[in-house]
């Protein structure tokens, strides 16, 4: 599903963000990617969604080698990945329904399919009663659930959540992670990037820790305490 093999990334300004990162995430897995600010988490996300290319090494996502992918093929790969971000990234002037339906329109789904699928996904995230609301009428937790619904609506093989709880209180954060876990149990691979130890501790899942551009720990049910190293 995801394979990073000896991946290096050096930005144009000389910053070495990744220094030989290697890990694999198999189909159906659920994993946390943890690390302090500037450790290279965001760089990994950008590499996985094709926003940037590695300086060296191999990045494979959903069977596609990201180094060889043509720009015109990129949208089709992105359709197999559901992305969730800390700042929700919803289109402000569209309703909840339209924000979710939008992801289906992108792949050319028919109106009939959209009418069937969107209410189902909204129900899954518990927002069926807010379909007509606009993002600014929702709480942070609700907005993030809309983002989860959007990530989910095209039935992606992989969901990447970049600090999905960064703007939420602990209760809402747990709610979102439980939702992601539920999605994982339905068969979708999930990678959650976070730096919230208490939240990670509540799940007995694989934790990949990165610090200074290197993987420093990759173990089940263990939050790597980079601050004590």
């Amino acid at each position: 599903m995801i394979r990073m093999n000896e991946v290096f990334k050096e930005y144009a300004n000389g910053t070495k963000a990744l220094k030989g990162v290697t890990f694999e995430l198999n189909a159906g897995e659920f994993a946390f990617l943890v690390g302090p600010s500037g450790s290279g988490k965001s760089t990994i996300i950008k590499l996985l969604v094709g926003e940037i290319a590695p300086s060296d090494g191999e990045v494979v996502v959903n069977g596609q080698d990201m180094d060889n992918i043509k720009m015109r093929k990129m949208p089709y790969l992105r359709r197999t990945i559901g992305c969730i971000f800390q700042d929700f990234r919803l289109i402000e002037y569209k309703s909840v329904y339209e924000n979710v339906a939008f992801a289906m329109r992108v792949i050319g789904a028919s109106n009939k399919d959209i009418r069937q699928r969107v209410p189902y996904v909204l129900e899954l995230v518990g927002l069926e009663y807010k379909a007509k609301a606009r993002p600014d009428e929702l709480s942070g937790g609700e907005q993030q659930r809309v983002a989860v619904a959007r990530a989910l609506v095209n039935n992606p093989k992989l969901i990447i959540a970049d600090e999905p709880t960064g703007n939420l209180d602990p209760a809402r954060s747990l709610e979102i992670l439980l939702l992601l876990k539920k999605i994982n149990e339905l068969g979708t691979t999930v990678l959650v990037v976070t730096h919230e130890k208490p939240l990670v501790d509540q799940f007995s899942q694989r934790v990949i820790a990165i610090d200074g551009g290197r993987i420093v720990s990759d173990a089940l049910d263990r939050y790597y305490n980079y601050e004590s190293q």
Binding site: V49, P75, C83, R89, L90, F102, R105, V106, G108, S110
Partner: protein, 296 residues
Amino acid sequence: MKVNRNRTFYYLKEGISSIFAHSLMSFASICIIVAFLVIMGTFILLAVNINSLIGDLESENIVLAYVHENLSENDARALEPVILAIPNVTSAVFISREEALQSFIGRYDDTDRYDDVDATWFRHRFAVYVSDVAQIAETQNSLRYIREIATVNANLAIANGLVTFRTVVSWVSVIMVAVLLAISLFIMQNTIKLATFERREEISIMKMVGATNSFIRWPFIVEGFILGLIGALIAYGATWSLYGLASRSVIEFAGFFQLMPLSSNVSVPIFLLYTGIGFGVGVGGSGIALNRYLKV
């Protein structure tokens, strides 16, 4: 086919709803298109009117071809087809000796003094009208080659002056329109950039969920097309309203001169120019401005 129809409908719906969703930027874009087209159109109409005025002055600039004294009136009149066969000659009006005499006397108040003047002192002549005043010297030479023509008078100084004036007006018009176009395109490009910048987040979301560049671009194109069309139509209406006002004012303050009427010869090309530029700026501008956000 069904999916394509869905998409087309979606692009139209998105383009139109986006105009209202970003109403302030839409309003600003329309205002700039209108301002630019009205300024450019005004200048073009001014240039067209000056050219028309010069054309009128040029048509008044006749060449006088005097016929030999020994030719009878009938023989002199018979020269008309020969004169008309000369390139650049549009018409030739025969003026007999008697008409020339009356015209001469008519210039003076004290007509009694010319009672003794005989018409034979004058020659039969042709008032020759030309189509291109710049070629008046060549026409004059061609007339001189006609054996029955004794002498030819053309006011070359005025003709050259008019030609120079027209050339200057043409160049100034071209330069002014080019400068206006450049300034307006710069302003327009920045307006579109601003509008697109405001929506960069929306574009990045589209990219994130796997939208192709064309899927992102089409609603913007539809939006640009509609804004361009609205701008062009408002500018067209405003231009002709202003032109009508200007026409009435010119007649009121300078009765000897009037602006060209609003004929289809002028209004249709202006309309096509306006809609062409409106579409070009709206569609092309938004397409170009989008490019920088699509390279992800």
